[in-house]
Symmetry: C2
Subunit: 210 residues, 2 copies
Amino acid sequence: MPQARFTLHGIALSGPTYKVGLMLALCGERFAYRHVDLREGTHKTPQFLALNRYGQVPALVDGDLRLCQSGAILQYLSETLGKFGGDDTLARQRNREWLFWDADRFSPNVYRSRAIARGFFKAEPPTAAVYREGAEVAFKVLDDSLAGGKFLTGAAPTIADIACYGVAVFADEGGFKLADWPNVAAWAGRVAALPGVKPPYELLPMADIP
Amino acid sequence: MPQARFTLHGIALSGPTYKVGLMLALCGERFAYRHVDLREGTHKTPQFLALNRYGQVPALVDGDLRLCQSGAILQYLSETLGKFGGDDTLARQRNREWLFWDADRFSPNVYRSRAIARGFFKAEPPTAAVYREGAEVAFKVLDDSLAGGKFLTGAAPTIADIACYGVAVFADEGGFKLADWPNVAAWAGRVAALPGVKPPYELLPMADIP
């Protein structure tokens, strides 16, 4: 079997790592995978900082290119692979509007709520409430936006759906019930049914994939 | 004088609105400006939601296109105007990595700290501390990254600098001193000296510009 083009560095517990792995899986791209042990501080070593100057997971290596920030990686992959990027200027713009909305309003509130629920992040109750309320507002925005269509920007899935699905899939770990937002629940079911999609802990192990 | 190509909708108090106005000014693009009165709830009216489905400022109108999310707008403008976007794939990628880092780590922590300091957002002290500490970590990342270069991604300013400058410029309102991060302070001085740059409340008034 030929060597994989891409090497993904991350951890299965990380939503942003999952988003990139999911994109590669949906594109039918086999990839090598390097488990980054956050507890051991691997993401702060000089070796990892050479891959991702922010010291965050994930990082993606494509030949000589070292890529980071899941939203930016999704944009890059949609361009270099010609998939899930939308067909024209308007579609590309709508996609990236969702990517930035996700980075601003959806991911941080849901992931932080999950980190608090799982004990990865210590927060006083009023702080936890700020994140929880932010997440609930974001789920409502998503639900309203999905009232009219199968996917976020039209009839076909794009990187906007991949990014937001990579958040929604962790909702239960944050103490949210997707069923509270019926359009979101139905859309998540449609994304989950796409060829190549696996749940987070099936897609990525807590170990390397050669 | 011919009608301006672009119409920016926003409020001078908004960092993301400033980022877009700054980009247009740096590109030498005259623009019409519509003041959006957040206290009056103008951003939640059907008219505004038709411009920006998220009900947030800013929104930018370019002919038939209605654009939102400042990071996505900066990407769009760099492409359509051919300015501040970087010269090749790697430069474009580095730019968007900074845009997403900003959306995730820099803007929310600095803007929220500023909103708390100015009384726009009520938060308990432990919550305020989470945002303050997040902002301080982000300023440190920015400072370290600027140790080696004049601008974030090289010798010339790009949308990465414009986005992050649109945060740093509000540091003092959040109770931060840029002088605590000397590389950031020097870089901010370089951005401020670029042709077309004005401080937030000089660039945009609390009223329409025809």
